[in-house]
């Protein structure tokens, strides 16, 4: 028997239309923003941190090139455009990592799993709010640096935005994978995320040219990380130089594939992690 012979009494006030699913997504994003606003010190600290990091790299660049040096805007561009992707990566990984773990710890993750809300939609709502916030922060950082170095190079902005979009969706997939790890590793995952953050920062050459990496590392590690191509192509099209890893058209293909496949693989891994947690009963473990 299809219903197991049990009675059906409807769903109360629930409306399962697509339109309502969209409004649910908006409500989840709104809740993220409200929660974020309840931590004003963290809000100010994160913002100051971004400007301090930018300042640190800019002053380091000035030491080597000299203030008003001809190569300063180009070096500043290489650093800042890598910094943009680094910011998205860090915020997505930490936001997903922290928020999933914190909800697991508090017990609200179980509340979430009791509801019929789409879990993909829930994960993306967490990231959506933080991506919007990151866009604001990096925007301001770019304006500050642009003013300081007397104009950052900005050659092909449209293509750069196209590449940035797919790099961000690819990073989103990495966030899903991080969430899966969090469900499995709990506290230890935070340490792992910390290491991963520096791993990508160095091996994807986010703050320096790829040529600075030893060829052994470049060929055995860097070239195998799809995000490296995101950093290389995004930076190259803005600074107006040839990409360092491969021809631009091939880098575009890799970035687009990364942007499409990473969320699919990441979400699949998250669902597997979630199923394991539901089998072991660790969804609400703290």
């Amino acid at each position: 028997m299809k219903s197991g012979g049990t009675a059906h009494r409807g769903f109360g006030y629930s409306d399962h239309s697509r339109k309502q699913n969209f409004f649910t997504f908006l409500s989840m994003t709104k809740k993220q923003v409200i929660e974020f606003s309840r931590y004003p010190i963290s809000f100010v600290a994160e913002f100051s941190q971004v400007l301090l990091i930018v300042g640190m790299f800019m002053f380091a660049a000035i030491i080597f090139i000299g203030e008003g040096g001809a190569g300063l805007p180009r070096i500043a561009g290489i650093m800042m455009y890598g910094f943009v992707l680094n910011m998205f990566l860090i915020f997505v990984l930490w936001e997903i990592g922290f928020s999933v773990r914190e909800e697991q710890y508090r017990g609200t993750l179980e509340s979430l799993y009791l509801s019929p809300v789409n879990k993909f939609s829930n994960l993306t709502s967490r990231i959506f709010a933080i991506v919007v916030w990151t866009v604001g922060m990096v925007g301001i950082a770019l304006v500050v640096v642009n003013y300081y170095v007397g104009g950052l190079p900005a050659e092909n902005v449209l293509l750069a935005l196209f590449l940035l979009f797919f790099s961000i969706t690819g990073i989103l997939g990495m966030g899903f994978m991080a969430a899966s790890l969090i469900l499995r590793l709990k506290e230890s995952a935070n340490l792992l995320l910390n290491v991963l953050q520096f791993f990508f920062m160095i091996f994807c050459a986010m703050f320096f040219p790829f040529s600075a990496l030893p060829p052994e590392i470049l060929n055995t590690v860097t070239r195998w990380i799809p995000l490296s191509y995101g950093v290389d192509s995004f930076r190259s099209v803005l600074v107006g130089q040839s990409p360092e890893l491969m021809a631009l058209e091939w880098e575009i293909v890799v970035v687009v594939l990364f942007g499409i496949l990473s969320p699919i693989v990441g979400y699949y891994l998250y669902r597997r992690g979630e199923r394991k947690a539901r089998l072991k009963g660790t969804l609400g473990e703290y």
Partner: protein
């Protein structure tokens, strides 16, 4: 015969626990939390799940609400299969499982209700209406717009209860909802549970407090070590004991006395129900307590037992549990005020 709205078929759940011994590799141990449970919960009833800590109540509820995946077996909830139609099962339920842990502490009560209403896909206008209705029903006005972190434990529990009602689901799972509530708030909650049931909601209610189950539930299942050991209406279960009386004796009772009392002809069972601050409560089940009391006292005095309190009482569901398992439930029901229990007793 009433129609089931929840049907559990041969459900088992096994957990693997790892036991670490110093630096050695952890040893794996299987814990069977549910053993082939078969159960029908009827449409429109208040169904009680009773049992001590670790009996399997929460595991069963977590399986039925999709938080856990059963190792074997299946269930149907509101016409949907537990494993194949998870989201439709979830949409059919209102749950209060983790009490205050299920709320966002940095959000106000209203924001929590708004958010959870959205998670259940309740449209915005309906959500507003519903929150307004729940505010009046549960007297939330005083703290609705404060962040949850400022609430007392009782207020958090009431808000968690409101959260479970926000989607007006046909089936409600309430896991020990009155824990941490004061007597008045607990009584009020039970009144609302009855009201919701009259409106047609099916309610699955777990509790340690036997008088709560007696007062609320049309049928109860007593669960112990992952198995349902008794199922029926409270009256049927109590009648199934085939005894007339229970006498509770409180005092300093040395070990082994319960066995000696049990050996008195006419005594069906004698179990230490509770131990607190060096004092124990001995529950004696028999057919005629008035006739047997002198004999019981004689045995107690022979064993130098200091009795401070004798309380004859009607048979409770806890006595059913004792009779079925030979053990007492750990919760101290004697802490419940007399007006709540409706019992009688006197000091000696």
């Amino acid at each position: 015969m009433p129609r089931a709205i929840i049907k559990v078929q041969n459900m088992s759940k096994t957990f693997i626990s790892k036991e670490r011994k110093k630096f050695l590799r952890p040893e794996k141990r299987e814990i069977q939390a549910l053993k082939s449970v078969d159960l029908d919960i009827y449409d429109g009833e208040i169904f009680g799940l009773l049992g001590p800590n670790g009996a399997g109540k929460t595991t069963l509820i977590k399986c039925l609400t999709t938080l856990l995946i059963p190792t074997e077996g299946t269930a149907w909830v509101n016409g949907f299969n537990l494993q194949k139609e998870e989201n439709l099962v979830r949409a059919s339920l209102g749950c209060m499982l983790m009490g205050e842990r299920g709320l966002y502490w940095k959000l106000t009560g209203r924001e929590n209700l708004e958010y959870f209403g959205a998670l259940y896909h309740v449209p915005k206008e309906k959500r507003k209406e519903r929150i307004s209705y729940l505010t009046d029903l549960l007297n939330l006005q005083e703290f609705l717009d404060r962040t949850v972190e400022t609430y007392s434990s009782g207020q958090k529990m009431i808000m968690a209860f409101a959260k479970s009602l926000v989607n007006d689901a046909p089936i409600l799972f309430l896991d020990e909802p009155t824990v941490t509530m004061d007597v008045h708030a607990a009584r009020e909650l039970r009144r609302i549970v009855k009201e919701l049931n009259r409106e047609g909601h099916t309610i699955v209610y777990t509790t340690h407090q036997m008088f709560e189950a007696d007062e609320l539930c049309q049928r109860v299942a007593i669960i112990d070590r992952g198995e349902i050991i008794a199922l029926g209406t409270p009256t049927q279960l109590k009648k199934s004991l085939k005894i007339q009386d229970v006498v509770n004796l409180e005092g300093v009772i040395p070990k082994g006395v319960a066995e000696k009392v049990k050996a008195i002809p006419g005594v069906k069972d004698a179990v230490i129900k509770d131990v607190k601050a060096g004092k124990s409560t001995l529950g004696v089940m028999c057919d005629n307590s008035r006739k047997l009391l002198p004999k019981i006292m004689e045995v107690l005095l022979e064993n130098e037992v200091q009795i401070e309190y004798i309380q004859p009482q009607d048979i409770t569901l806890e006595d059913v549990f004792i009779a079925k398992t030979g053990r007492a439930l750990s919760v101290d029901t004697s802490e419940v005020p007399e007006e709540e229990k409706g019992g009688a007793g006197g000091r000696v």
